[in-house]
Subunit: 82 residues, 2 copies
Amino acid sequence: MARVIVEVMLKPEILDPQGQAIARALPRLGFSGVSSVRQGKRFEVELDGPADAAALDEVRKMAETLLANTVIEDYAVRVEEQ
Amino acid sequence: MARVIVEVMLKPEILDPQGQAIARALPRLGFSGVSSVRQGKRFEVELDGPADAAALDEVRKMAETLLANTVIEDYAVRVEEQ
């Protein structure tokens, strides 16, 4: 059993209204010193087997077809240290 | 300028219907070997200054009051290596 993390974020050139709303709310809530916020998704994928090269390839394919919209989003896949 | 990552995930004891829907869709889409999926949020917070202890304390407070619902969600704060 291994856990693989898939992080999905909007591409840098795509506007992120959710992140902007958070960044704009911060000063009102008493937080300063933040120049920008971007919001994305994080998936914890539990594998039945080990996180070997073949399994990571499968997870990458999964991210590409199901978890991320690659027209507007980038993704990163990494193995979580147990 | 430093980038701090805030990861927000549902607590383990809270049902995650989005993650379950993904896990159920995978075999149908030809992916096997995944035992479970959990979906959460990921925030990239850009700081004006360095990510020192005081700034990280601020980000933790921000996560607690704005980014996470601590009744049902856990959060983790970490500095992203540039």
